[in-house]
């Protein structure tokens, strides 16, 4: 390890390529935290956005007109506005309406932190796309298959959970993949409300060490790695879900 650090120190002296995140322990820890935070933010939002997609698509098929309208309103709102504006709206507009509570050091602070708002806004942003993606999958499930479930005594929810969703998922996985990749990329917006994810940390580091090009390059490769990992896992999942004689 020590030799690697020394090499990067030498690299800086010899060429001016200054990767403090390798040889400087303080920067290194900051960047590891940022990396972990980005993964954490991505996974949590991924989970919530998929849940929003599944529940939203279910509510969209509701017999109640107002439930359907509400879901459609949500989709329109979140699909047709920039995610950065959404994040600011959540953090500054909704955040200012939230009550404040005393924290463990006796300081008043909002009950929802910037982390919470980032998770909320990113999940609802990606969730709005997921609802539409799941709906397209649901529409591809033959009506006759649903009818067979009904004839066996399944109610609407049971039919959705046990028959429609597993089949719809197989149809919409490619589109879902795309949207989740998009979500991982969009987590960088949390930078705007000071969530210490990778971009935010990189910014701090380059302010201190004046190594903007190096950090930018590093960021690019870090995201290639993250997105590549996600795509690999999703493709593996897609393959394992493939059925003989069903779908493409």
């Amino acid at each position: 390890m020590q030799e690697i650090y020394e090499w990067f120190r030498w690299l800086n002296e010899a060429t001016g390529i200054n990767l403090t995140i390798v040889y400087d322990s303080y920067d290194r820890e900051r960047m590891i935290d940022g990396f972990v935070n980005t993964i954490y933010l991505s996974l949590v939002c991924l989970g919530f956005s998929v849940i929003i997609g599944i529940v939203g698509a279910w509510l969209q098929g509701s017999p109640l007109k107002w439930t359907r309208r509400l879901v459609n309103g949500y989709i329109q709102l979140f699909r047709n506005t920039p995610p950065l504006v959404q994040m600011y709206f959540f953090f500054f507009a909704l955040g200012s309406l939230m009550p404040r509570v005393e924290n463990e050091w006796g300081i008043m602070e909002p009950i929802l932190s910037n982390w919470h708002w980032a998770i909320l806004s990113l999940s609802f942003f990606a969730g709005s796309f997921n609802v539409e993606i799941f709906r397209s999958g649901i529409e591809a499930v033959p009506k006759a298959t649903v009818e067979a479930a009904e004839a066996l005594g399944y109610n609407r929810l049971q039919t959705y959970v046990y028959v429609v969703l597993p089949l719809a998922l197989r149809v919409c996985l490619p589109a879902l993949n795309n949207n989740l990749v998009n979500l991982v990329k969009t987590t960088t917006l949390a930078y705007a409300i000071a969530v210490p994810e990778m971009l935010y940390v990189a910014n701090q580091i380059w302010s201190d060490s004046l190594n903007v090009p190096e950090m930018m390059t590093f960021l690019l490769f870090a995201y290639v790695l993250l997105v590549g990992l996600l795509v690999m896992v999703m493709n593996k999942w897609e393959r394992s879900m493939r059925l003989p004689g069903f779908g493409a």
């Binding site: 033959p142 006759a144 298959t145 009818e147 067979a148 479930a149 009904e150 004839a151 066996l152 005594g153 399944y154 109610n155 049971q158 046990y162 028959v163 597993p166 089949l167 197989r170 059925l243 003989p244 004689g245 069903f246």
Partner: protein, 262 residues
């Protein structure tokens, strides 16, 4: 097991019904899709253990009639009772009805993401909450009954049409229905596999299962049916025991129809 007490409760609701009364009683049923009246006053009874066959031209409302019996399609007026339970009432206990009435479709409609055995087990486990091991045991026996032992782990996409249809029959039987509805279950099959499915149905009929079949297999109908019904444009034009029905049709429309397909 919770399911058996459910079943008892469901039976209890129709306590007035006794097996000597019609198991399915259809009275003056009307049904329209938009302006088009598909069923124009259908009335008949099916007794327990009876096998009845419904024949008729395409579009005469045969499928619609079957689908009204298990409440997949609502009716406009009239009444349908299954074991005394009124099918078309606002607070219908749908599950109680669907447990009594099994249905097999022309296109099999198996669940493509589950194996043959799982297809049979799903509803008893997920809907009736029966014990999984007991259901698996029963599902294996049902698969054997439809002559598909060894196909437990095959997905529907890996089975022939005739095999899929027999899994579909087993899936329906796993709910222990009292009446089975068959809607042209051999129409989508290759000629070679038609007979294996008909054999399965014949065995069911011989065991005393109440069956209502819509079919174009006249030879089969003649053999298994206790009673034939001929529908034309939403009404029953003629009915009777098969010998008489086929040998001696009275109505001109029946004659014309039989003349066409026999």
């Amino acid at each position: 097991m919770p399911s058996s007490s459910n079943a008892a409760a469901a039976r209890h609701a129709d306590a007035n019904w006794t097996p000597d009364q019609p198991i399915v009683a259809i009275r003056n049923v009307h049904k329209s899709f938009g302006d088009f009246e598909v069923l124009r006053g259908i009335t008949f009874d099916v007794m327990k253990g009876d096998v009845i066959c419904i024949i008729g031209a395409s579009g005469s409302g045969k499928s619609t009639l079957l689908r009204c019996i298990n409440a997949l399609v609502p009716i406009d007026s009239g009444s349908i009772k299954v074991e005394g339970q009124e099918v078309h009432q606002p607070n219908l206990n749908t599950l109680a009805l669907r447990k009594k009435v099994g249905m097999v479709f022309q296109q099999f409609n198996l669940f493509p993401h589950k194996t043959a055995l799982q297809n049979i087990m799903m509803a008893p486990v997920q809907v009736l909450k029966q014990d999984k091991d007991a259901v698996r045991e029963r599902a294996r026996r049902l698969l054997a009954k439809v002559r598909l032992e060894g196909k437990e782990d095959a997905y529907p996409g890996e089975l022939s049409g005739g095999q899929q249809q027999r899994v579909a029959i087993a899936r329906s039987l796993a709910m222990n229905p009292d009446v089975m509805l068959f809607d042209e279950v051999t129409s989508a099959l290759d000629p070679e596999t038609v007979n294996e499915v008909l054999l399965t149905i014949r065995e069911l009929a011989e065991e005393g299962m109440t069956c209502m079949l819509v079919t174009h297999e006249m030879g089969f109908a003649r053999e298994v049916a206790d009673h034939m019904y001929f529908t034309d444009r939403g009404i029953i034009v003629e009915h009777g025991p098969p010998q008489e029905f086929f040998a001696n049709p009275k109505d001109e429309r029946t004659k014309a129809f039989l003349g066409q397909i026999l």
